[in-house]
Symmetry: C2
DNA sequence: TAGATTGTTAATCGATTAACAATC
DNA sequence: TAGATTGTTAATCGATTAACAATC
């Protein structure tokens, strides 16, 4: 059983390891990874140990081996298809994003209620939501990126779930209420900025920190 | 002392409360907020209790009062100015974002190495990074949104810190190494999608969940 | 009053750190 | 060998839940 906290750490390790690999290194140590990630060496060793990843006493860990193990966890066998819903500011940015491939994902379609969006040149086909089911079935999509305005987010999310979506990356500033089997991951720029300022002590009641 | 976990919960309460207020409600109960947020009623009461927020036994909590207390924590006395660095896909989306005001923030300027970006019509002035210090000083900026490409993210972040930035909302897929006093908050779409898929069980070793 | 809800204390659970033996 | 590093067990710390008295 891997907790959400541990998952986040594993993702950090992977980013750090990819960087070290790119720098030409072949092996690394728990304290080096600690430098890279800010996670304590003990916790790093414990995480690896739980996953059954062995290092060499005195010799550290092989970067390639670690990456293989992490890939077994995060890398999917099949390329996973995702869809994007909402072509406003953020949606348009995400449709032009080029990093899907390297995470073994593929953005197969975008959706918008405004049919005029179909005119513009986007790197993926654009439909209205009427075609969602079709696309979900054809491409076995289970994850959607939701980037519609606040007022229509809940309604659109319901519609996504009704049509087979099980995971939503939600950019709308709304707490979505959905059936328990649906996983939602919120990305909210304002909330992140607010928390950053809060922890910087930029506020009235500084003594509460 | 308020932990990061607790801060996140408080932000969720605020979102839920704003929604309930908009629906015309005047008071609420720990179990209603639990329905909205997915956080247990006991923990909600404990959080409020720690902040010194009192409800009425049997009568619940006043929404307006709760929002006032949360505003004392998250709402800043002065409007906080932020800057945006990098006008690529995501940067361009964020510069057109309209939600800063309602979080009592103000995006005062954007920066890009490419001077041709200055031509385009953006709602804020666009400079090259040479002007950063000037803007930081003039507008007392301590937080920056970093949306530059991966390869220049570390270098740009260093430059931001050298010029007075203490908090960075980082959209580049890089683990930034910065002095301890600098706070970094990462937003990485691919990482979030990967974790979503991981927890949905979309992977090879399903038995490890 | 009876019932519902808060608020607090104690108990539990989970995550991290400390300590240190194993060993390369 | 001596020194460095892993890997594991025990200890600590922190967060959440359970229990229940207080009280509206």
């Amino acid at each position: 059983m891997i907790s959400n906290l541990q998952t986040r750490r594993l993702q950090k390790y992977r980013m750090a390891l990819l960087r070290l690999k790119k720098m030409g290194l072949k092996k690394t140590f728990s304290h080096s990874l600690s430098d890279e990630t800010g996670i304590s060496p003990e916790l790093i060793r414990k995480d690896f140990s739980i996953l059954g990843i062995r290092g060499k006493r005195r010799g550290g860990y092989e970067i390639e081996g670690l990456l293989d193990e992490l890939k077994k966890l995060f890398g999917r066998v099949k390329e996973q298809n995702v869809v994007l819903v909402g072509l406003g500011n953020i949606g348009s940015a995400l449709v032009n994003y080029e990093n899907y491939r390297q995470s073994n994902m593929h953005l197969v379609a975008a959706f918008d209620i405004d049919p005029s969006k179909r005119q513009r040149k986007y790197p993926v086909p654009v439909y209205t939501l009427d075609n969602l089911r079709e696309v979900v079935d054809a491409f076995e999509v289970s994850v959607a990126i939701l980037a519609v305005p606040e007022f229509s987010a809940q309604e659109t999310a319901n519609y996504l779930v009704e049509n087979g979506i099980r995971g939503i990356l939600n950019f709308a500033p709304v707490l979505l209420k959905l059936p328990g089997h649906v996983l939602v991951n919120n990305i909210n720029v304002m909330i992140e900025l607010e928390r950053l300022m809060f922890h910087l002590g930029i506020r009235q009641n500084a003594e509460l920190v």
